[in-house]
């Protein structure tokens, strides 16, 4: 994508892109932005907003704003690592299956069919109950489950390219696997794969925060948006919106990414016409 493509962007996508940048800055500079440490107890429990603490304190008397800022780094960072892992493995296997076909494709596809025949949240719950709730287990389990989705998509888009005659030409020339995947196919599937990365990140992010919300994901005292909703959930029955802040942050980020991805997909389909 070139810079000139950004002109003519719909307002939703522009908003999305702005928010994504904002979240990225907050996550990277969390240490500089947050007034307090993420586990530091600085006041009484559930202090109200305003006053000493802009957003009040949480159930243990930690500064809500600081935890939100640290949470950006922790939640986004872990989700990003998980997505990158799922994406690299899934895309690579998907491209391989598309190019090699035959037994490799059958074996990988049937295995993925099996994993996909069950909602991933269920598998995640099962595997986490077995491996325990460490961050490494969380990242691995979610990565493996999301990998199946990436595999399917990248295989499907690669299949559309594999049947093209220029790939046949390269095969007939005697080119090896590396050239076929790297030079013939990959350049033609980058657009859908980038969009898929955005979508996968949203799913991973939502899945991890859902698990954290259930108390089965990122464990306290690490500041994490999903867990923060859970920790402060009791306040909602008193009409206090504090638990909605981290939940809203999650929603805002995923909405932003979806707006941008939607625009990218729309543009890609428009260009084909």
């Amino acid at each position: 994508m070139r810079l000139s493509d950004l002109r003519g962007m719909p307002p939703t996508a522009a908003f999305g892109l702005g928010m994504i940048m904002f979240f990225a800055v907050v996550a990277v500079f969390a240490g500089q932005i947050a007034p307090h440490g993420q586990t530091e107890i600085v006041g009484m429990e559930f202090e109200p907003r305003g006053g000493d603490f802009v957003l009040g304190t949480d159930n243990l008397g930690r500064d809500m704003l600081s935890r939100l800022v640290w949470g950006a780094r922790n939640s986004i960072g872990i989700a990003l690592a998980t997505t990158a892992l799922a994406f690299t493995a899934g895309a690579l296997l998907g491209l391989l299956a598309a190019v090699l076909g035959g037994w490799t494709d059958q074996l990988l596809s049937r295995f993925v069919d099996l994993l996909i025949s069950i909602p991933s949240l269920l598998f995640a719950l099962l595997l986490l109950s077995i491996f325990g709730t460490s961050i490494a287990a969380l990242v691995l389990v979610i990565a493996v489950l999301e990998m199946t989705r990436v595999f399917r998509l990248s295989r499907a888009v690669a299949m559309n390219v594999v049947v093209m005659e220029f790939v046949e030409v390269a095969r007939l020339r005697g080119e090896g696997l590396g050239w076929l995947i790297g030079r013939e196919i990959l350049p033609n599937v980058t657009a859908p794969l980038v969009a898929e990365f955005g979508l996968r990140f949203c799913f991973v992010f939502l899945a991890i925060s859902a698990l954290s919300f259930l108390g089965l994901g990122i464990q306290p005292p690490t500041a994490d948006w999903g867990s923060m909703v859970r920790e402060n959930a009791a306040l909602i029955t008193f009409g206090d919106i504090t638990p909605l802040l981290p939940a809203g942050a999650i929603a805002l980020l995923t909405v932003s990414i979806n707006f941008v991805v939607d625009w990218m997909l729309h543009r890609a389909s428009g260009l084909q016409d």
Partner: protein, 540 residues
């Protein structure tokens, strides 16, 4: 004669490209009287279909009428409301599309789609009446089993039959005008002749007016009273059919007529006992065990000669190419290159052998990687086979571009998106040449191109053959192309070679029955060809 049925004046239509509107039709006039058949002819992008649909007051999504008048039977179609327009469509003006398979609703029986217009939409007939008429029309259009074929679903009927069923559907309300939009283009020649005959007889008997759209001059010569030639949205000329065929006024029309006269230089028959570049000996191949798609296929291709492999869809001619290149390993039989047997599997062949046999594909659009520049596309085989690098490779790429008559400075940095169809096909040729092969397999390389462009490609291939002594295996369904360039002809049907021999012999009787069917099914430019051929067939 009273006033015309359809009058189009100065019609301009635009299509959306990104955010801008580009003209598709630029001020076209058209006049059609009752019972008259007008042929619209032109190459792709001439605006033929757009004009045909406009005659129904219809524009596709993303196109709009920019100006002009469309008057049908005294009614201004541009001023007519949506409801009144719908009342005309299907009832007084009907449409027959190119791909019958895609234009029939897959979930309804043919008879239900036939009766929809006269019974459900326009309420002109009762259902039993319409069904009875359908059977009559099916019979008149020479559909097999006219009494029961209506109860079939579209996927249960062959392409040629569907095309006739669609013509019947268009005639269901006895319209004043039918638009035929390339109705036989997707069909094989031997099927085409039956459909042409059925359509022409039915149009004559019913006395409806028609606009017949096609890119094939010989077809339009059989069908139309007058011919209008379009080029890039503008009219070139219009004349009565016989006058037009005898003496086209404009240079563009004449060039269309002249294409079929090209002939490659003749070559001597290779001496007996000479080793062919390629020998295919008794090859049998199958996609699934037990159902062979090629059976005992044998032929030779000699250096400097062109072998044309001819057949209709499903004849196995393209499969033969896949077997020769090793994409589909033969079950039995031998493929020999210069007398040396090749391993059946592509993966087992060494680069030196792969280099000798290059291939050019039908669709230049998908044969060039859209993300590579011309420099990369031509540079890769030079590097891969010949180990050329740096300035030596650059120089060679430029030579190749000059060879295919493209300006190296202009084209070397372009991507395929910035090329026309003919230019893409030339790059495909250059890529094959880069490997310095002995044999090039050309798989329908001209069939996706307009006639003038196709002729240019044939001339180029012929010149390269003379200079480099290349052998060609030319796969095609088009007998005109065979006549133009072949030295030796192989006729295939159902995966077998039915007949083969030098070109002169093949185009001279006696023929194998299938070869004769094929030869006599190709329309001539003569307007009497259809009548004559049908009469001849009925005699024999």
């Amino acid at each position: 004669m009273t006033e015309p049925l359809l009058t189009i004046r100065d019609l301009s239509i635009e299509g959306r490209q990104g955010r801008a509107w580009q003209p598709i039709l630029r001020g076209v006039d058209l006049e059609l009287r009752r019972g008259e058949v007008l042929g619209l002819i032109g190459e792709s992008g001439a605006g033929k279909s757009t004009l045909g649909l406009a005659a129904m007051g219809y524009t596709r999504d993303g196109t709009r009428i920019a100006g002009g008048e469309i008057t049908f039977d005294g009614m201004d179609l541009r001023a007519l409301g949506a409801r009144r327009l719908r009342g005309l469509r299907g009832r007084r003006i009907a449409y027959v599309a190119q791909s019958a398979a895609a234009n029939f609703n897959p979930s309804q029986r043919l008879i239900d789609q036939y009766t929809e217009a006269p019974v459900d939409i326009h309420q002109l007939r009762t259902r039993p009446e319409a069904a009875r008429e359908a059977r009559e029309l099916y019979a008149r259009l020479r559909l097999p089993e006219p009494d029961v074929i209506g109860f079939r679903y579209p996927h249960q009927v062959s392409g040629g039959q569907l095309q006739r069923a669609m013509t019947a559907m268009a005639m269901s309300c006895e319209p004043d005008l039918i638009i035929f939009d390339e109705p036989t283009t997707a069909l094989d020649v031997t099927t085409q002749i039956e459909v042409l005959r059925a359509i022409r007889d039915a149009v004559r008997e019913i006395g409806t007016a028609a606009i017949y759209i096609t890119h094939d001059l010989a077809v339009v010569a059989q069908m139309a009273d007058r011919i209008k030639v379009l080029l890039r949205g503008e009219e070139v000329e219009e004349q009565p059919t016989r006058a037009m065929l005898a003496a086209p006024r404009e240079a563009y029309s004449r060039s269309l007529w002249a294409v079929r006269s090209f002939r490659a230089p003749e070559h001597s028959v290779p001496p007996a006992g000479a080793t062919p570049v390629l020998r295919v000996a008794g090859v049998t191949a199958e996609y699934s065990p037990g159902t062979p798609v090629l059976q005992d296929v044998s032929f030779d291709v000699h250096s400097g000669r062109t072998v044309a492999v001819v057949g209709e869809s499903g004849s196995g001619k393209s499969t033969a190419a896949r077997v020769i290149t090793g994409l589909l390993p033969a079950v039995s039989g031998r493929i020999e290159l210069d007398g040396t047997p090749l391993p059946p599997r592509l993966a087992r062949r060494d680069p030196a052998a792969l280099r000798q046999v290059q291939m050019i594909h039908q669709s230049a659009d998908t044969a060039l990687n859209p993300k590579h520049t011309i420099r990369e596309i031509l540079g890769r085989p030079l590097r891969f086979y010949l180990g050329l690098r740096g300035p030596a490779r650059e120089a060679r790429i430029r030579e190749l571009l000059a060879d295919i008559e493209l300006d190296p400075d202009d084209f070397i940095g372009r991507t395929p998106a910035a090329l026309s169809g003919g230019q893409k096909q030339r790059i495909g040729i250059a890529r094959a040449l880069a490997a310095e092969p002995r044999l090039i397999i050309c798989d329908e390389v001209t069939s996706a191109l307009d006639q003038l462009v196709a002729e240019g490609i044939l001339k180029l291939l012929t010149r390269l053959q003379e200079v480099r002594g290349l052998a060609y295996m030319f796969i095609t369904h088009d007998l005109a192309t065979v006549r133009a360039i072949a030295d030796h002809v192989v006729v295939m049907q159902h995966g077998r070679v039915v007949e083969q021999g030098p070109k002169d012999e093949m185009f001279r009787p006696p023929h194998h029955p299938y070869t004769r069917l094929l030869l006599t099914s190709v329309p001539d430019m003569d307007p009497d060809w259809l009548d004559r051929t049908i009469a001849e067939r009925q005699e024999s």
